[in-house]
């Protein structure tokens, strides 16, 4: 019975091809909007996650002060010392590498080219803590690190601006008053999670930066790589209590430093894009609803137009339920048809749009299925009222209908 009803419905749709198409246009647009939004949104989330992941997995960043800045009034919390770094390295379980960082900025000059960049003084541990392969040359040796020798490894942006096509390894350039030798070049990393250019950097032994640029032995950041075997949260709290002790923070007082987990940032940012995706999807879902109302409209018109047909069916012995089912199936078939067209259009659109807005194209089976079943559901909900009206017609009146 159900199959024959389906056949009847498909026949009816085929008979009014143009009208059927116009009827489902709302659903087409609705499904298209929802699926496109969500697919692109998922791509954006993925893109953010990839970028954050490029910072390194299982990495803790320690900075003085609370939050991202150093905080407002009051005495500024002190930077860290090499002793802090060693304490973390030696006293906290689950630490794979601890890389202190001292930063300075300056204008790098080579021949006629100059480029304002960031100098990052660190230790060999920096390269253990995160995966950042070199494209040429080498990282500094322990001896160079200990001596604070003026050797540097440059990011691809710096390389491009100072050396254009030349091979920089073995060459020298000047930054502020320091002439340093390029011993290695870093592979390109692209944009960071906050839109900064991660490749615009010069990496030197930390002692060189402290001695030649900052003039003190302060350490601004400490990067800690956590062993895969350990929970970052456990290591994080161990470091926190160690640093509180070392910085003599009385119980009940807030930390004057801040440890955060790259995974946390990743979660926060991808959480944000997910919420945005959900909001956009919900807005698009409203258009699906409007599409459903469109179906109801046309089905009501169709019931009026086909009153006589309904009368004939009732006269030859169709029971109310069968007439109801016929119109319901027709509405659902229309809605599903619209859903499928919408999905196909959306697939095509996201496939071509994703590279344009620089997010990966991710075909999400789940949202496609949800959108399809939701359009079927809309067919049921909005088809029910017209179908019930058709089924409740009086056969005598229906047959007399002109």
């Amino acid at each position: 019975m159900f199959f024959t009803t389906l056949v009847l419905a498909v026949r009816e749709i085929r008979r009014h091809l143009l009208r059927s198409f116009l009827t489902v246009l709302g659903i087409v647009i609705g499904v298209f909007a929802v699926v496109t939004m969500v697919t692109l949104g998922n791509g954006a989330t993925k893109a953010v996650q990839t970028q954050i992941a490029s910072l390194g997995a299982n990495i803790l960043q320690i900075r003085p002060g609370q939050g991202f800045g150093r905080g407002g009034g009051g005495p500024q919390p002190p930077d860290f010392t090499m002793a802090d770094v060693e304490a973390i390295q030696n006293q906290v379980a689950g630490v794979k590498a601890v890389a202190p960082q001292a930063q300075a900025s300056g204008i790098a000059v080579r021949n006629a080219a100059n480029w304002s960049t960031q100098v990052n003084g660190t230790t060999i541990a920096y390269f253990t803590a995160q995966q950042w392969p070199l494209t040429g040359g080498r990282i500094f040796t322990t001896a160079e690190e200990q001596a604070g020798k003026a050797v540097c490894i440059i990011g691809s942006t710096v390389q491009q601006n100072l050396f254009q096509g030349d091979d920089p390894v073995g060459e020298r350039f000047r930054i502020r008053d320091l002439s340093c030798e390029v011993i290695g070049t870093l592979s390109a990393r692209g944009q960071g999670g906050f839109g900064n250019d991660q490749d615009d950097v010069v990496i030197m032994p930390i002692k060189a930066v402290q001695r030649r640029f900052s003039g003190n032995r302060d350490i601004r950041f400490i990067m800690v790589a956590v062993d895969d075997q350990y929970q970052t949260s456990t290591v994080q709290s161990s470091i926190e209590s160690l640093l509180r002790e070392r910085r003599k923070i009385a119980g009940g007082k807030q930390d004057d430093f801040n440890i955060f987990d790259t995974k946390q940032i990743s979660d926060t940012l991808s959480g944000t894009t997910k919420v945005l995706t959900a909001v956009m999807g919900a807005v698009a879902a409203v258009s699906l609803l409007v599409g459903g109302i469109g179906i109801m409209n046309i089905m009501l018109v169709s019931v009026t137009e086909r009153t006589r047909e309904i009368g004939i069916r009732l006269a030859i012995g169709a029971v109310a339920r069968e007439v109801l089912l016929q119109f319901l199936v027709e509405a659902v078939a229309l809605a599903c048809l619209g859903g499928v067209i919408g999905l196909i259009l959306s697939l095509a659109a996201t496939f071509f749009l994703a590279p344009l807005i620089q997010v990966p194209f991710l075909f999400d089976v789940q949202i496609n299925l949800i959108a399809f079943f939701f359009s079927a559901l809309i067919g049921v909900v909005f088809g029910y009222f017209p179908a019930r009206r058709a089924a409740s017609l009086n056969p005598i009146d229906a047959l007399r209908h002109e």
Binding site: M1, T4, I312, A315, I316, V319, A320
Partner: protein, 238 residues
């Protein structure tokens, strides 16, 4: 009349509306119709013949009185039960043919079989047989718009008899046809009545058509005025 009629109406009344605007279309109709009869129902407009046909066709129920079909009290059945009764025992032919537009003759004829849940092959076979019985098997793939009035009425008759009903109800079946085609349709109905034993109930305005029947019932002012024998009872029409 036979002792055990197919249809028995007793004191059937039908009132439309309520209060002062109420209109009593039937005022107590008693009517027996036995199986195999060919009954022509005649009468002026408003005499109650259409209301009677609606009740006989189980499309409507009496306000009061009893209507038994094959011994079943139809007035006690609900809407869907009456639909099943129509599906099983009744066939309808209308003045305006009432075929589904843009649907082939065969598909139209198959429609009642569809509701009986017959499979495609058997629907096709039975449908073609019914079209053959009314003499337009060659036109099975044509839609109503491609058929003449007489052909459309033949398709409608094929649809009505495709389920081998006990009773064929025809509401002015020749009302929209010219006189020659009308005679052909009447011959067809007479043949179905004689050869297949289908009881035919036909409403008509035209005495010429009523003459084909075995029994002619005249209605007037919501009552049966007279019951007479038609020409169909004694022999074949000229």
């Amino acid at each position: 009349m036979a002792a055990d009629p197919l249809i028995r109406m007793r004191g059937v009344t039908k009132t439309f509306g309520a209060g002062p605007a109420a209109f009593q279309a039937l005022k107590g109709v008693d009517l027996d119709i036995s199986a195999g009869d060919f009954v022509a129902v005649m009468g002026p407009s408003g005499s109650g013949k259409s209301t009677t046909m609606n009740i006989l066709g189980c499309l409507d129920v009496p306000t009061a009185g009893s209507f038994e079909f094959k011994g079943v009290a139809v007035e006690r059945l609900d809407r869907d039960q009456r639909a099943l009764l129509r599906r099983r025992y009744l066939g309808f032919v209308f003045q305006g043919f009432n075929l589904l537009a843009r649907t082939s003759a065969l598909e139209n004829v198959e429609l009642p079989l569809l509701y009986r849940g017959e499979d495609k092959a058997s629907r096709h076979k039975t449908g073609m047989e019914a079209l053959a019985k009314v003499g337009i098997a060659d036109w099975w793939h044509h839609t109503p718009a491609e058929l003449s009035g007489g052909q459309q009425q033949r398709v409608a008759i094929a649809r009505a008899i495709v389920t081998n009903p006990d009773v064929l109800l025809a509401d002015e079946p020749t009302g929209n046809l010219d006189s020659i085609t009308s005679l052909e349709i009447m011959d067809l109905l007479t043949g179905l009545n004689r050869n297949l034993g289908i009881t035919v109930l036909m409403v008509t305005h035209e005495a010429d058509m009523a003459a084909y029947a075995r029994t002619i019932v005249h209605f007037k002012d919501g009552l049966v005025e007279s019951i007479a024998a038609g020409r169909g009872r004694v022999g074949a029409p000229a």
